[in-house]
Symmetry: C2
Subunit: 407 residues, 2 copies
């Protein structure tokens, strides 16, 4: 949508050069769930650093919901008409007078998990990330596993521990190999971040049917920024042969605002070439790469700019793969890219890559160094895309602080 | 509970020697969800092969729910008082006259998934099963992975494809290695069953806190019989390094009746000895082994009797491990044992073990042979425990038929 003059003026401070990381470009009409003192959860639209109560703005009680799920289940035609209605309401004559009093400062509200997460799947779709981890863990072997170039490899994570940005992350305890090789139960000493993007499913599918990549926009409503916190030491002892479990399931943080796919039409780009060519059920028929760049900050220092657009397996291929065995989709399903790492310096999406397994600690501006995360560290991952006019569009952020966990 | 005479008479046929596999001993007061033509889902109690409408029997509309979750969330004191109320109602003066008309034949109702599944975790807790698979896949190596004796190894499965007994199971397609070694997309040729027991969580826990094994009965309401259908060929290509995904996520079937833990107090037994002794957070403080035996039928032929009581890691240890990193529990969480295999002949819980990776096909009574499941095959897994008086107590069954999946 185009931003009416009154709103542009209202938001000038929030979207200008010194913008806050949690600001969301009003042209995206990103949606989430908020509450204020004394009133229940309801759906909001992010406009810069303001929150617009959707039900109040549209004078339609149907939007006084505690999660986006009922709205997401309605499907793409509804999503589009809703965006139209909001856009018209903001641009209508007298909107400045009518809508301005309904805008709440984001600091004055509480933001909640925007969706009831059904199943959570995490993929492993960055060629650079998979290659880096292969080099770190199997320095003498082939970095990629034999299946990697045939399918977007993924696994199910814990839906019940997906949390909204701002939720403190308690350092997990788990079974680790001590210095003498003995197995002990203790706090993870190798806590990491993973910079990712998550896709939110609105429209489900029938058990036993496949969803093709072409149907991506019929099912997927939008995207969130996601930090898949990882305890590398817990993970490395537990993961053979059934994959990551407790090394991941303590917390997965997502941004509070879901950016509709429909607002990113202009940001679609082809995915990188794939060799061997994917099997026919995974063929790309449209460009579902997205020109989105993340920015990872550790205690305020920018440490990386992982690119979503460099992803080897595009999200339409993830969707096709995930349902290729007939698995049903449900409203609220969340699937994430896996750590986004680019090929260039400064594009790595995890500390294990940035510090090469802790061997080359990062130097922070406060003079300290980090191999992995310490108690009190704050990680903020924000995302930006480019508007049709070339200007940057902020897509919001996910943040979390590591807190100590007592025995 | 003790069964009143009128009910015993009513159920004589169903619970006698020629009992149906789906009968459930009335002493267990197992609960599920059913519907009849023209009326919505509601909670039922399984009495032999009869279903009692709980809300009608107790004349209490609070039980007219479409899933057990609201009832499960209430916690153990409520569960116990509910069992008392049902028991009193069945044994009260005039009960025969009042309750008999409320009993529906199980064939006259439709049974539904008893719970809204929150997260689904599948463990790998049978020493014999893990050892057998290690021998099959790594004949020259150590059968058990280094972590196996330190923790109940597990992973998250797909909650959205947990289905109720009777749901047809479409043969999944997936990426397989063809005879020439090339990767192709086709129907699984190595479809297997896995005989398991699943535990249903009623009371959740806070993110960041651990749930000890001692608190097992404070959180877990009851158990179901579970078939974790597995496509061995899809699984074997996909599972490194992130674990099973599409080889499992096409369907997981559970029995329609949840047997309350409280009805199995007398069936509790110690788990087998553990060496090395488990780390302190996984220590057993009570006997949470359960004297339950499964029976696996393939097209009517009994092919195995896997024992729950032989499980190396007991369910209290699974719960303690699953939350040892601070992961929250939610009402509706389901966690399963993994394939139950015993040490003796006739106790193996999967075809891959029963046929030793297909090398020794099973001979069925119709003259056919099976390495893995064929289209049209029906698998029924039933469970039985022993009553305090030594008589068998049927715990219900999970059944499913394999149907072909077109291209």
């Amino acid at each position: 949508m185009s931003v009416p003059a009154w709103l542009e003026e209202e938001l000038a401070e929030a979207t200008g050069a010194g913008r806050r990381l949690d600001a969301v470009d009003p042209r995206l009409l990103a949606m989430g769930v908020f509450s204020t003192d004394g009133r229940g959860k309801r759906i909001g639209v992010a406009l810069g650093t303001k929150v617009l109560d959707l039900a109040a703005a549209l004078e339609d009680g149907r939007f006084a919901e505690a999660s986006l799920n009922p709205l997401l289940a309605e499907g793409p035609a509804f999503w589009e008409s809703l965006r139209q209605r909001i856009s018209e309401r903001l641009g209508a004559k007298g909107a400045a007078r009518r809508i301005r009093p309904l805008l709440l400062d984001v600091d004055a509200v509480q933001l909640h998990l925007p969706i009831d997460v059904a199943d959570y799947v995490d993929f492993y779709c960055s060629l650079e990330h998979a290659t880096n981890l292969g080099r770190i863990f199997r320095p003498d072997g082939e970095p990629l596993q034999p299946n990697w170039r045939f399918m977007p490899v993924g696994y199910h994570g814990r839906a019940g521990t997906v949390v909204v940005s701002g939720t403190p992350v308690k350092r997990p305890w788990g079974q680790l190999r001590g210095p003498d090789g003995r197995v002990e139960f203790g706090p993870s000493a190798r806590l990491d971040l993973e910079a990712e993007v998550g896709f939110v499913v609105g429209v489900g599918s029938e058990l036993g049917s496949r969803v093709s990549g072409q149907a991506f926009a019929d099912h997927v409503f939008g995207l969130v920024v996601l930090n898949d916190w990882s305890a590398r030491d817990i993970q490395s002892f537990e993961y053979v042969p059934l994959g990551p479990f407790l090394g991941k399931s303590f917390a997965t943080s997502i941004s509070p605002w879901v950016v509709p796919l429909a607002s990113l039409e202009h940001a679609r780009i082809p995915g990188p070439p794939q060799a061997p060519p994917p099997l026919s059920h995974l063929e790309r028929s449209e460009d579902w790469g997205l020109a989105v760049t993340l920015e990872v900050r550790l205690n305020g220092d920018v440490v990386s700019h992982p690119p979503l657009g460099a992803l080897y397996w595009t999200p339409d291929q993830m969707l096709a793969h995930m349902t290729s065995n007939g698995a049903a989709l449900r409203c609220g399903d969340l699937f994430a890219t896996g750590t986004l790492s680019g090929a260039r310096d400064g594009e790595l999406g995890s500390l294990i890559e940035l510090t090469w397994n802790g061997e080359r600690p990062l130097a922070l501006s406060d003079g300290s160094r980090r191999a992995f995360l310490e108690d009190g560290d704050e990680v903020t991952i924000s995302a930006t895309t480019v508007a049709p006019d070339g200007s940057p569009m902020a897509m919001g952020a996910v943040t979390g602080r590591v807190v100590a966990s007592p025995p």
